[in-house]
C-alpha cells in the first residue's frame, strides 16, 4: 500500500483512503446496514480534474503501466463496419435546445460484472465532471441488437413523447416523467436543463423505439446488460467539443474488451444542413516542442532522447526528429487535456519527478514596497492595542438586518452591494460598516469582565459607479467602549489619540480635525458628532441608541467611533 501511495503521489494522484464498501456503509449508516456489504478492498484515489482518461480502473491501470514502462500505449483505431454504417440523423428542432450529437459503436464486447459496473460508473463520473452534471453533455449507451437504425435525434413537445423509461414497468409521457422524477434523488438534479423548454430532445430508432430522452433518461427497451455484445453510444449536448471528448474517452477506455481490442466501429452523424461526419474522431495530433524549451521551463538538463522517453511514459509517444533538438509528440485522443506546449512540459516534469528537480533561487532583483493603505493599517493596529483596545476580526458578509434594521436605517440608504445567491441570511450583503461585527462580538462575550474596549481596522464595501465593477472597498477603523457608563469621553479621547498618531492637529484650519454635533439613527439623540478632518467628513462618534443596543442583544451603554482612514494616507 505504501509503495502504491508513493507511485500515486509521483504521478500526481492522491491516494485518499483505503477502505471497503462495508467500511463506507458502516461509517455512513451504521454497522448493522453494512453487514451484507462487500469486504473487497477499495482504493479511493483523487484524480486531477482534467484527466478524464484516469477516471476508470481501465484507464488508470493503463496509465500507470505505461508510466512504469510495463506496456506500450495502445493505439486506438476507428474502423468501418463490414455491413452498413449506423446513422444518427439530427433534425433542426434540436437546434434551440441541445443541438449537438455524436455516436459510435463498440462491437463484440465482452463484459463481466466488474467491467459492466466500471462502464456504468465511468459514464456517471463523466456526467458529473466534464459534462457539468449533464448540462453540457449527456451519454446514452444502448444494446444495438435490440434496435434498428438509422436513428433520429429530434425534439418534440413533451406531451408527444411517450416511452417506457429505464427501470419502469410501463410507458409514460415526458410530462408525466418529469413529475415522477421530481422526487427521484438522482434524476431530480437534471430536470432543470430541459424542464421549461417547449420541446424536449429525444432519440428514436427506425421503428419509433425511444433510445433516450437526453439528458434525463434512457429507454428501457435498449438497456444494456452484462450480456450485451454490441453497444450503440450517443452523446448529445450543448458543447460540441466536449461531446466529442466524452465519446472518445468512453470508446478508448472500453474498446479494450472488444474482440478486436482497441478498435471502435464508426457511426455517421447527419447534420440538419445535410452534411455528415463520422465519429468517434479518435484524432491523433502531432506537436513539436524543442528539447531546450522543456529543459529551460523545468530547470533540468536532459538529452532530447531522455525527454522523449519521459514523455512516452506519460502516454505521449515521442521521438527526436530534425536537428536532434526537436521532439515530435503524438497527442492521443485520451489526452484532451494537452492543449499547449506547457502541458507537455508539465508531463515531462512529472515523469522526471518533481522531487528530483534541483531547487534554485531566481536572480530576480527587486526592492519591496508595502501597499500604503496596508502599511498605515499595520501601524495603527499596534497603537490601537497600545491604547488599550483589543482587536477583533469579523466577517465582511452579513445580513441586511445587521447593517440596516438593527442600526435604525433603511437598507436602501446604505449603498450596500447585494449578493444574488446567498445560502443563508448571513451572506445577504457586504458590510457597509464595521460596527455590527463589533457589537456581535460583544454579544458573544457578555461574560467577559467590563469594560470591553474593542476595535477593528478592515474594509467595508459600497456601491460606486466610478469604479469598473460599480463598487469599492473603503478602509474603516471602528472602536467601541462597552461598560456600565457610556464612556463617551473615552471614545472621544481615543479619537484625539488617533488624530495625534496621524499627525492631524485639533482645529478647523491647517488641515486639522474637529467634531461637530450631528445626529444619526444609530445614536442617542444629542450624543452624536460628525468627525471632520483635513476638510472632509471622515466618520462619526457618539453614544449608541438604546434601540441599537437592544437589537444587538446587549444590555449596557456603549459608545462608538468609526472613521474612514483612506483620507489620511
Amino acid at each position: 500500500d505504501e509503495e502504491f501511495d508513493e507511485l500515486c503521489f509521483e504521478f500526481g494522484l492522491e491516494l485518499d483512503e483505503i477502505t471497503s464498501e462495508k467500511e463506507i456503509i458502516s461509517k455512513e449508516q451504521g454497522t448493522v446496514k453494512a453487514a451484507g456489504a462487500s469486504d473487497v478492498v477499495l482504493y479511493k484515489i483523487d484524480v486531477p480534474a482534467n484527466r478524464y482518461d484516469l477516471l476508470c480502473l481501465e484507464g488508470l491501470v493503463r496509465g500507470l503501466q505505461v508510466f512504469k514502462e510495463r506496456i506500450k500505449a495502445p493505439v486506438y483505431k476507428r474502423v468501418m463496419p463490414d455491413g452498413k454504417i449506423q446513422k444518427l440523423v439530427i433534425t433542426e428542432e434540436t437546434a434551440k435546445i441541445r443541438p449537438f450529437a455524436v455516436a459510435a459503436v463498440l462491437r463484440n464486447i465482452k463484459f463481466t460484472k466488474d467491467r459492466y459496473d466500471s462502464f456504468i460508473e465511468l459514464q456517471e463520473k463523466l456526467h458529473q465532471n466534464i459534462c457539468r452534471k449533464r448540462a453540457l453533455v449527456a451519454i446514452g449507451t444502448h444494446d444495438l441488437d435490440t434496435l434498428s437504425g438509422p436513428f433520429t435525434y429530434t425534439a418534440k413537445r413533451p406531451s408527444d413523447i411517450k416511452f417506457k423509461p429505464l427501470n419502469k414497468t410501463k410507458e409514460y409521457t415526458a410530462c408525466e416523467l418529469m413529475n415522477i422524477y421530481k422526487t427521484d434523488n438522482h434524476l431530480k438534479h437534471y430536470l432543470h436543463i430541459i424542464e421549461n423548454k417547449p420541446l424536449y430532445p429525444v432519440i428514436y430508432d427506425s421503428n419509433g423505439v425511444v433510445l433516450s430522452m437526453p439528458p434525463i433518461i434512457n429507454g428501457d427497451h435498449s438497456r444494456i446488460t452484462v450480456n450485451t455484445r454490441n453497444i450503440f453510444i450517443e452523446c448529445t449536448g450543448t458543447d460540441f467539443t466536449k461531446a466529442k471528448i466524452v465519446l472518445d474517452i468512453i470508446v478508448t477506455m472500453f474498446s479494450e474488451y472488444c474482440e478486436n481490442q482497441f478498435t471502435v466501429e464508426a457511426a455517421e452523424v447527419v447534420f440538419p444542413n445535410g452534411k455528415s461526419s463520422t465519429f468517434p474522431e479518435l484524432a491523433y495530433r502531432k506537436e513539436m516542442v524543442r528539447a531546450d524549451l522543456i529543459n529551460k521551463k523545468v530547470g533540468i538538463r536532459e538529452t532530447p532522447e531522455n525527454l522523449a522517453k519521459l514523455l512516452t511514459r506519460m502516454y505521449l509517444k515521442s521521438e527526436v526528429i530534425g536537428d536532434g533538438n526537436q521532439i515530435e509528440i503524438e497527442i492521443p485522443p485520451t489526452r484532451a487535456d494537452i492543449i499547449h506546449a506547457c502541458d507537455i512540459v508539465e508531463d515531462a516534469a512529472i515523469a522526471y519527478g518533481y522531487n528530483n528537480i534541483q531547487m534554485t533561487l531566481p536572480k530576480t532583483y527587486t526592492i519591496a514596497n508595502q501597499f500604503p493603505l496596508n502599511k498605515l493599517t499595520e501601524l495603527l493596529r499596534y497603537d490601537m492595542a497600545a491604547a488599550g483596545f483589543t482587536e477583533v476580526l469579523t466577517f465582511a458578509l452579513c445580513s441586511q438586518e445587521d447593517i440596516a434594521d438593527k442600526l435604525g436605517l433603511d437598507i436602501s440608504a446604505t449603498k450596500a452591494v447585494h449578493i444574488s445567491n446567498p445560502k443563508t441570511a448571513e451572506f445577504q450583503v457586504a458590510r457597509t460598516t464595521l460596527l455590527p461585527g463589533l457589537l456581535k462580538t460583544i454579544a458573544a462575550n457578555r461574560k467577559m469582565p467590563l469594560p470591553l474596549k474593542l476595535f477593528e481596522i478592515s474594509d467595508i464595501v459600497i456601491k460606486d459607479s466610478n469604479t469598473d465593477v460599480g463598487a469599492k472597498n473603503s478602509r474603516h477603523l471602528c472602536a467601541v467602549y462597552y461598560n456600565k457608563n457610556p464612556g463617551f469621553e473615552i471614545i472621544h479621547g481615543l479619537l484625539d489619540r488617533i488624530m495625534q498618531l496621524l499627525d492631524v492637529p485639533p482645529g478647523e484650519d491647517k488641515g486639522g480635525y474637529v467634531i461637530k454635533a450631528s445626529e444619526g439613527p444609530a445614536f442617542f439623540p444629542g450624543r452624536c458628532a460628525e468627525i471632520f478632518a483635513r476638510g472632509q467628513s471622515v466618520g462619526k462618534l457618539g453614544v449608541l441608541h438604546p434601540d441599537v443596543i437592544t437589537k444587538f442583544e446587549l444590555t449596557m451603554p456603549c459608545s462608538s467611533l468609526e472613521i474612514n482612514i483612506g483620507p489620511f494616507l
Binding site: G12, P48, V469
Partner: protein
C-alpha cells in the same frame, strides 16, 4: 507584641511542650473552639519561621441525628415489629406510627411481618417470626462506642446510604517550633514606604516575606488578534524576501478578472452558483478593458499563442457578471496586466494577503470567507526549479523545512504542484500550499513578453494558523463568536519558533 491571647497561650504551651502539640488537643485542654486555635496557628504561620505547622486530617465515622435516635430506640423496622400484637394490626393504623412507612417496608423485606389483604376490615399486618435481632441498632451502637472499624465496608456504606452514618474529616495542625521560634514576636512590615526610606527605619524592621508562587496582576492592555498577528508575520516574510505588496482592496470583482483573465473556461464548476457568490446589485461590471477582452475571448474560444483553446462560445455577458472574488489571483491578474502595459518589461516579485469568498458548505474548517496568501514572481526564464527554490525559502521562514511536491491540476497554472510538508504531530504529509507556473494563455493576452515566465503560489492564512496553534474549529479563530479571552491570552506569533505542542485531541 502578640495579637490575641490565643497566640500567646499557644506559644507558651509550645515552648513548654516536648516536640510539638496537636491543635485539637490544645483546644480541648484550653476549653475553647478548635477554630480559635487554628486561627492562631495561621497568623503565626504568616510571620515566617516562628512555628512549623503540619496539616493532619483524620477521618472518623459519626452517627447522624437519626442514627443516634436508632442507636437509642431501635431501628424503624424493629419498632414496627414490636408494635404489632399477636392478633395483628390494621395496616392503616400501622402506617400512622412515626416509624410506620420506612419500618413497614424494611420489616417486610426482612420477612419479619406479613400482610393479610383479605381481612374483614381492610389489610391487616401480622408477625411472621416470634423474635428478631435488630442488626441496625447493634451496628450503630458499635460505631457510637468508637468501634466503627469492626463493621465491614459494605455495612458502613449501607448505613451511610440510609443517612444514619456520616464520615467526618477532622483537620488539625501538628504544631512545632520553627527556626525563628520566640514567645515574644513583633509584627512584620508588609511593604517598604517612603517614610521608612527617609527615616531609615527599614533597617530595623522585619518584612513579611512575599509569596512568589502567587500570580502577579496582569497589566491593563489591548491585544492584537492572533490571526492578524500571523498575517503581520507573513507580510514581514514577504518583505524580507523583497516582495512588493499588491493592492487587493476590492472584494467585488468581475467574472472577467476573477475567471476569464485566468483562462478559466466559462463552464468551469467554480463559476457555478454553488461555489461563488454572485451579485444582484451591482450585477454587472461597468467597464472592461475591451482590447484585452477580445484577446481573452479569442484564446478561450479559438486558441492562439500556441494553444488549442477550449473551443466553445465565449460570452461577454458571462464575463461581466460581478461576484465576490473567489481568490486573490484576480488581483494578481490585474497587477500583471498593469505590469504588461509598462514597457520595457521589468521583473517583479509581488505578494498579497487578503479576504476571499466562497459560497461553500460550511464546516469546522471552512467558512464563507477566509484569507488567501499569494506570492508571484515574474521574470525572464523562470523554471519549475526556481519555483521550488522560492517555496523552500518561504517555508523555511515559516519553520517548515521538510517539503515535497506533488503534480496537481489548476486551470490557470501549468505545470502545477501542490506543496506538502511533513507534520511531526500528525505523523503524515499534509498539504500546505498550491503553486505553479501561470499558463501562457493567461499571460500572453495581457501583453507580457513571450519569454517571461510567472511563477506563483498560494495558501490560506487560517489553515497554517490552526495547525500551528492546534485550533480544531475555525470559528474559534475568526468571526464575532470567538472568545475574547483567547485573543487576550494568545502569545506572540513567531512562525519559525517551535511552539509548545498543541493540546492533543481527545478521542471521541
Amino acid at each position: 507584641m502578640a495579637d490575641g491571647p490565643v497566640v500567646e497561650l499557644l506559644l507558651r504551651r509550645l515552648e513548654a511542650s516536648d516536640g510539638g502539640l496537636d491543635s485539637a488537643e490544645l483546644a480541648a485542654e484550653l476549653g475553647m473552639e478548635h477554630q480559635a486555635v487554628v486561627g492562631a496557628v495561621k497568623s503565626l504561620q504568616a510571620l515566617g519561621e516562628v512555628i512549623e505547622a503540619e496539616l493532619r486530617s483524620t477521618k472518623r465515622w459519626e452517627l447522624t441525628a437519626e442514627g443516634e435516635e436508632i442507636a437509642r430506640e431501635g431501628s424503624h423496622e424493629a419498632r414496627v415489629f414490636r408494635s404489632i400484637p399477636p392478633e395483628g394490626l390494621a395496616q392503616s393504623e400501622l402506617m400512622r406510627l412515626p416509624s410506620g412507612k420506612v419500618g413497614f417496608s424494611k420489616a417486610m423485606s426482612n420477612k419479619w411481618i406479613r400482610v393479610d389483604k383479605s381481612a374483614a376490615d381492610g389489610p391487616r399486618v401480622f408477625r411472621v417470626v416470634d423474635s428478631m435481632e435488630d442488626e441496625v441498632q447493634r451496628r450503630l451502637q458499635l460505631v457510637q462506642g468508637g468501634q466503627a472499624e469492626k463493621l465491614g465496608e459494605k455495612e458502613r456504606s449501607e448505613l451511610r446510604k440510609r443517612k444514619l452514618l456520616a464520615e467526618v474529616t477532622l483537620k488539625t495542625y501538628w504544631v512545632s517550633k520553627g527556626s525563628a521560634f520566640s514567645t515574644s514576636i513583633s509584627k512584620q512590615e508588609t511593604e517598604l514606604s517612603p517614610e521608612m526610606i527617609s527615616s531609615g527605619s527599614w533597617r530595623d524592621r522585619p518584612f513579611k516575606p512575599y509569596n512568589f508562587l502567587a500570580h502577579g496582576v496582569l497589566p491593563d492592555s489591548g491585544h492584537l488578534h492572533p490571526l492578524l498577528k500571523v498575517r503581520s508575520q507573513f507580510r514581514q516574510i514577504f518583505l524580507e524576501m523583497g516582495f512588493t505588496e499588491m493592492p487587493t482592496d476590492n472584494f467585488i470583482e468581475s467574472s472577467f478578472w476573477n475567471f476569464d483573465a485566468l483562462f478559466q473556461p466559462q463552464q468551469h464548476p467554480a463559476r457555478d452558483q454553488h461555489d461563488t457568490f454572485f451579485l444582484r446589485d451591482p450585477a454587472e461590471a461597468l467597464q472592461l478593458p475591451m482590447d484585452y477582452v477580445q484577446r481573452v475571448k479569442r484564446t478561450h474560444s479559438q486558441g492562439g499563442y500556441g494553444s488549442q483553446g477550449y473551443k466553445y462560445t465565449w460570452k461577454l455577458d458571462e464575463a461581466r457578471k460581478n461576484l465576490l472574488r473567489t481568490h486573490t489571483t484576480s488581483a494578481s491578474a490585474r497587477a500583471l496586466y498593469r505590469l504588461a502595459q509598462k514597457k520595457p518589461f521589468t521583473p517583479v516579485k509581488y505578494f498579497s494577503i487578503d479576504r476571499v469568498f466562497r459560497n461553500e458548505t460550511l464546516d469546522a474548517t471552512h467558512l464563507a470567507e477566509f484569507h488567501q496568501i499569494e506570492g508571484v514572481v515574474a521574470d525572464h526564464g523562470l523554471t519549475l526549479g526556481h519555483l521550488m527554490g522560492v517555496l523552500r525559502e518561504f517555508f523555511t521562514k515559516l519553520g517548515i523545512t521538510q517539503l515535497r511536491f506533488k503534480p496537481a491540476y489548476n486551470p490557470y497554472t501549468e505545470p502545477s504542484m501542490e506543496v506538502f510538508s511533513y507534520h511531526q504531530g500528525l505523523k503524515k504529509w499534509v498539504e500546505v500550499g498550491n503553486s505553479g507556473v501561470f499558463r501562457p494563455e493567461m499571460l500572453l493576452p495581457m501583453g507580457l513578453p513571450e519569454n517571461v515566465s510567472v511563477i506563483a503560489w498560494g495558501l490560506s492564512l487560517e489553515r497554517p494558523t490552526m495547525i500551528k496553534y492546534g485550533i480544531n474549529n475555525i470559528r474559534d479563530l475568526v468571526g464575532h463568536k470567538v472568545n475574547l479571552q483567547m485573543v487576550y491570552d494568545s502569545p506572540l506569533c513567531r512562525l519559525d519558533a517551535e511552539l509548545r505542542p498543541p493540546p492533543t485531541q481527545e478521542a471521541a
